[in-house]
Amino acid sequence: MSLYTDVVRYPDLFMNIFRRELYGKYRGSVLGLVWTLINPLVLMAVYTLLFSVLLKAFQIEHYPLFVLSGLLTWVFFQSAVQMSCSSLFAQPALVKQVRFPRQMLPLAMVATNVVTLAAMLVVVLGVNLIFIPEIRTTFWAALPLLVLLVALASGLAVVFGYITVIYRDVEHLMNTIFLPWFFLTPIFYTLDQLPGLQGREWVADVLFYVNFVTPFVEAIRDPIFFGELPAPGDVLYCVVAGFASLVLGVIVARRMDDQVAATL
């Protein structure tokens, strides 16, 4: 696990790389941060218009906030994994010529996305607390789950950062995968409200357990939108998934660290 603890062991190095990537993401301005928040807000507006106003598909109170509460999880996850794909690949000089803990590059990418996540969390919690006061007693429960979400993203960020060096098409592949993946994740709908799933509950189970982002979306949305504590089963799933992702990161990095430096 020194793969991740290096961040604490070399704090100056990590902070410097983090600052570098942060600058790359926001072009060094607060306005840059605002821009990254606009994307989920636009998505929220579009899905509300489409599914709530026009199609009248879902009977969910505060539908825009419901969508936003799901997007919080998804946007962070997608952006962190997507951006980490090129984190090593884009720095050939560093990877090929210099000895340093290379996994810091994808991990710093995740860290920059944590900044966006925090900003978005403030926005979502602020609005939700105004319109849904009953979440006041439960929203804290989202915080440990968000930590697990960051763990999930960190492990996968390392995996994809390393793999993209060897297989150049992975980044494009992920671009292709993320859109259908988004639609299969219950962000603008809930699995129990899908009319097509009546009598076919096993499909819902597959959508829930195979798509490992789903338990995170639901477990984080429960306390910040529905005012309920997340189901223990979901929490357990998130703990296992987050930890498994970290372990996968360690395995991939250990197997590929040498190969990555030799290939790039």
Binding site: D12, R19, L94, Q97, V98, R99, D258, Q259
Partner: protein, 407 residues
């Protein structure tokens, strides 16, 4: 092990090279069978021991394993088999300005790059002033490095790398950067390290630099140690190795001088129109390149080629001539050749002439001298850029149009 000691025992390094430039995941899954990597052993059973304070040169042709060895020493990757131990902190001058962000100021980049080299913030704080002072960038240190010239960028990179306080220093030949004054400073600094008893591993094609820096050199050939011993002898063997070399890319990476030696170019010098030896010229000057061709054996008239290259080695122009047409005497003595450039078509920068002598079929290379003459062009007047771009302007009044009174 004493800090600065390097021990290599039967070090081998294998690379898996795929026939395609890039492997895609799609191919890896769909055509797993056809994607056989070729195994390349870049180093085979390399053993040596470098004591603390020794300066050792590594030479060999492209692909002989020099770069792999330096990267192994730097710790970028590990040997496939064998044991490699480097005691103490390794300073690498292989990649100057590692991790620089163009939009960051010089100051921020010093902290960024130094942390990648393994320094803590407090350690950088302590060295900050000497880094800036050495780089001579005091006035620019709070400007983004994207505003720096290539030379300034490298100077900053070099200053950081030499301030890491390493026990082992890895160098390749680009270590001398910037203008001539700064290059001298770089070399002095490296010689300082040598005097301070730091271990230096130096990869170079420059015989002169190797002789100056190293008492001992390893000659690598196809991943094996061909010779390990006194530098002069290593250079001699390397020249032998290169003499038969046909591939221009290999030659380009070779020594500054090589060839089979039946005829040689000597006494190269640059003069102005008045016959005065000069090293700097102004755009449009009359420049004369003179040299002597020594005839060592009776050979048919050789061809002579002059290449004009910029400081990075980029080819700007090439002139070639059959010396037979100039009146080469087969059994004659030395001949003095003169190449007159009536108006120097360059504006600004540092340039070099490479001279080579070949036989008529251009298959046998008698002698090649890289950087046979170097010179600087000092800009003058309005001209900018690389090339003297002369033309005549003219303007013809077009048919008159109705004038509009704009009040």
């Amino acid at each position: 092990m004493k800090p600065g000691t390097i021990v290599a025992e039967n070090v081998s390094r294998r690379f898996r090279v795929y026939p395609q430039r890039h492997v895609t995941l799609k191919e890896a899954i769909v055509r797993r069978r056809q994607l056989r990597p070729v195994e390349v052993w870049a180093l085979r059973d390399v053993s040596f021991r470098i004591g603390a304070g020794e300066s050792v040169g590594f030479m060999g042709r492209n692909g002989s394993g020099k770069t792999t060895l330096l990267r192994l020493l730097a710790g970028v990757f590990r040997p496939t088999s064998g044991r490699l131990a480097v005691a103490g902190r390794v300073g690498s001058l292989l990649e100057l300005g590692a991790g620089f962000h163009p939009d960051f100021t010089g100051r921020d980049n010093i902290y960024l790059s130094a942390s990648i080299y393994g320094l803590r913030k407090q350690e950088v704080d302590r060295r900050f002033d000497s880094i800036v002072e050495f780089s001579e960038l005091e006035r620019f240190i709070d400007l983004p490095v994207r505003t720096y010239s290539a030379g300034m960028y490298m100077r900053l990179g070099f200053s950081i790398a030499v301030n890491v306080d390493a026990e082992v220093l890895l160098l390749d030949e680009v270590f001398a950067v910037g203008d001539e004054a700064f290059q001298r400073k770089c070399i002095d600094r490296i010689l300082d390290f040598k005097r301070q008893g730091k271990t230096i591993a130096f990869v170079s094609h420059s015989g002169a630099a190797l002789e100056r820096m190293c008492d001992r050199a390893l000659l690598l050939r196809e991943g094996l140690v061909e010779y390990d011993g006194e530098t002069g002898e290593a250079i001699r063997r390397y020249q032998e190795l290169l003499a038969g070399e046909e591939d221009p890319a290999e030659r380009a990476a070779g020594l500054q001088e090589w060839g089979t030696g039946e005829a040689r170019v000597t006494e190269v010098r640059l003069e102005d129109g008045a016959g005065e030896v000069r090293e700097d010229f102004m755009p449009g000057d009359h420049v004369v390149l003179r040299f002597r061709v020594q005839n060592r054996e009776a050979i048919d008239p050789p061809w002579l080629a002059i290449e004009l290259r910029d400081v990075t080695g980029g080819l700007l122009s090439r002139a070639e001539r059959d010396l037979g047409e100039l009146g080469w005497d087969r059994d004659g003595k030395d001949a003095d050749v003169r190449f007159d450039i009536q108006r120097l078509p360059l504006v600004e920068g540092r340039f070099q002439f490479n001279v080579s002598l070949t036989d008529g079929a251009r298959t046998r290379r008698y002698h090649s001298v890289e950087k046979a003459a170097e010179f600087t062009v000092i800009p003058h007047g309005e001209a900018h850029g690389f090339v003297l771009f002369e033309g005549d302007w003219s303007l013809e009044q077009a048919a008159p149009t109705v004038e509009v009174d704009t009040g």
